[in-house]
């Protein structure tokens, strides 16, 4: 039986790890490799790294750091940030990452998702959807680290990405990110129910109970954690951690 995946999602800014709130102001978390070592010790099953300025700065992923990360981590890894063509994707896979995440490129070059799926298999291609509510309370999809409003409805866009061959969807609520307020259950549920591919809920997790809610009530197949794994608590200091395995198991098996 495959278990629900709980994935620390770490943000790379240049060669440092940072954490943002609502995709804006950031705080330093530490050295990426040092942090990887700690997640190794914590026996985390999967890690995701997102380079949050690669697309905005129109540059390539930092292959050097990525190679060092794969050398340090003994679990499956996903990477996103600045992937716009097959060659870059291929290089990321060769470095040792299991999956890639595309966001901005899916808007500037929609065909890329199908190309990547065909070349590397859907299961290795995650499409990221960053969602924010507008003034009238309507959900809209954003690209370029939350700076460009694509004016698309998340469910429509998600369906289109699924059709194009995305293997998974990383659904991030910009409004909830870094707030510890819990996931946007309504958003996750509407998208998850509309798709057959797995949806990874991201943005707002403040407790293990939140993980339970988003899986059981909002039908998320997997959960990505940000603030919760790099801060001791909300408003407190940086301390890399991961929820207790027994606690997670308890919450995930209860229904």
């Amino acid at each position: 039986m495959l278990r629900t995946r709980i994935i620390p999602c770490l943000l790379l800014r240049g060669e440092s790890l940072v954490k943002t709130v609502n995709f804006r102001k950031f705080g330093y978390i530490g050295d990426p490799l040092n942090t990887c070592r700690i997640f190794n010790e914590l026996e985390v099953d999967e890690l995701a790294f997102l380079d949050i300025t690669a697309s905005r700065e129109q540059r390539q992923p930092n292959f050097k750091i990525l190679q060092e990360i794969t050398n340090e981590c003994f679990m499956p890894l996903s990477y996103g940030g600045g992937i716009r063509d097959l060659d870059t994707a291929e290089r990321i896979f060769q470095i040792g990452f299991e999956k890639i995440v595309v966001n901005t490129a899916s808007f500037t070059n929609p065909g890329i998702v199908s190309q990547l799926a065909q070349a590397f298999g859907s299961q290795s291609v995650i499409v990221a959807l960053d969602v924010k509510k507008n003034l009238w309370g309507r959900y809209q999809v954003y690209s370029l680290s939350g700076t460009t409003n694509q004016k698309r409805d998340p469910v429509d866009w998600a369906r289109e990405m699924e059709e194009r061959g995305a293997g998974e969807l990383l659904l991030t609520s910009i409004d909830r990110e870094g707030t510890w307020k819990g996931f946007d259950l309504h958003l996750v549920r509407t998208v998850a129910d509309a798709l057959s591919i797995p949806v990874i809920a991201h943005g707002g997790c403040g407790s293990v109970a939140d993980i339970g809610s988003v899986v059981h009530q909002a039908h998320a197949s997997a959960v990505a954690l940000g603030s919760m794994v790099v801060y001791q608590q909300q408003g407190m200091g940086v301390l890399v951690n991961f929820p207790e395995r027994e606690h997670l198991q308890q919450i995930l098996s209860a229904e």
Partner: protein, 390 residues
């Protein structure tokens, strides 16, 4: 060139008859009994603070009562600096035992071993103590280390020590806390001579200006004005409980291991890789100094081990995590030749760069008053404001 780090052989040198500090220790003087001035300084401190006596314990309890009273209406009544090491982890335990409500504070220089972070997490989560941290941009941290490396001084990682002090003050400042508890014990660590580690905000700024390549934005420096703000304006006191009471490091470690699953990392200060590199490779290789004599001398002084045993341990090379040297070079981007070239540069000290030392000396009377009021550690007064090189 494969450098072999040796231990320190004290044969042929005059060695203190009580501890194991030898004649090469900066500022050392031996009296008629062959006892060194550092031992005498410690004697005097023990007398002053009543270490391990009922008088000392009473003095500490009075301070603790004051801390509780002054912190009554606040969220926390004291700040405890934590590093993942024995002393600081134990200090959190004791603080709670004494009925205090501590806020733990940590400065993350981004070179922590996973063990250090885990230790902090294990202790604080079981004791339910909140943590304040300051994390420096890892690139900036590396830039500062590179600068000090190129400056050719023994104070390779003094930036971390100063940043920790500043971080503790900031934590205290944020929550209006007036007391910082530090786990320093002169009985187990001795007083390290000034020549082995010097730090102040101007020193760091000068070295960084000369050899750094990126602006210092996230490094929590402590310029003189800031130092005075914390000490004179905010009047935040520094208390070192282990100066008043008996402390057994071995017992503390055993307790931590049993209660929290705390893990040992192989030696004093080795839980952080840059500190480990500093003590186990850099100082011995470049300056022929080996800081283990601080704790070894202290252990001998306290009668925990015999002088002979201490001297024997000192003769063995210091423990170093394998590949620490490679990690240092790789992380800081030094090719082997460049690394060797810098290692071979002529030795310098803090006196070769602009620092606040003269100012500290001029303000000696002020710092005496501040030390008596626990606003600066007495050891700071003794070392930094004295014209003698100790």
């Amino acid at each position: 060139m494969k450098r072999v780090i040796k231990g320190k052989d004290l044969s042929g040198l005059q060695v203190c008859s009580r501890c194991i500090y030898d004649e090469t220790v900066p500022g050392i003087v031996f009296d008629q009994e062959g006892v060194c001035n550092y031992c005498r300084m410690l004697e005097s401190l023990q007398e002053q603070y009543g270490t391990g006596t009922p008088r000392g314990e009473k003095a500490l309890m009075e301070i603790i009562d004051r801390i509780k009273k002054e912190g009554r209406k606040k969220q926390y009544d004291c700040v405890v600096g934590v590093s993942g090491g024995t002393d600081s982890s134990f200090m959190v335990v004791k603080a709670l035992e004494w009925g205090l409500r501590p806020l733990a504070a940590h400065y993350d220089n981004t070179w922590n071993t996973a063990i250090a972070t885990q230790n902090i997490r294990k202790v604080l989560s079981k004791l339910k103590v909140d943590l304040y941290t300051h994390v420096i941009d890892n690139k900036e941290a590396d830039d500062i280390i590179r600068a000090f490396f190129k400056a050719s001084v023994p104070d390779l990682d003094c930036a971390t020590d100063l940043a920790l002090a500043e971080t503790l003050y900031r934590a205290a400042g944020k929550y209006g806390i007036k007391y910082i508890l530090e786990g320093h014990s002169f009985v187990t660590e001795g007083i390290s001579p000034l020549g082995t580690l010097y730090m102040d905000g101007k020193y760091i700024r000068s070295v960084h200006r000369l050899f750094g390549t990126m602006p210092m934005k996230t490094f929590p420096n402590m310029p003189f004005g800031t130092f005075m703000k914390w000490v004179v304006l905010k009047r935040i006191k520094k208390i070192r409980p282990l100066w008043y009471i008996n402390y057994s490091k071995a017992a503390a470690r055993a307790y931590l291991e049993k209660e929290f699953g705390w893990e040992d990392y192989g030696g004093h200060h080795l839980e952080n890789r840059i500190t480990a590199f500093h003590h186990s490779y850099y100082n011995p290789a470049k300056f022929g100094t080996d800081n283990r004599n601080n704790s070894l001398a202290a252990a001998a002084r306290a009668g925990l081990i015999s002088r002979e045993a201490a001297i024997k341990i000192y003769r063995e090379p210091p423990y170093m995590e394998p590949e620490l040297l490679e990690y240092f070079k790789k992380r800081l981007g030094f090719a082997d030749e460049e690394f060797e070239k810098i290692m071979s540069l002529p030795r310098k000290t803090f006196r070769d760069y602009p620092t606040y030392k003269k100012r500290f000396e001029r303000l000696r009377p002020l710092f005496y008053v501040l030390a008596k009021a626990n606003l600066v550690p007495m050891s700071f007064y003794l070392k930094y404001t004295s014209k003698n090189e100790i």
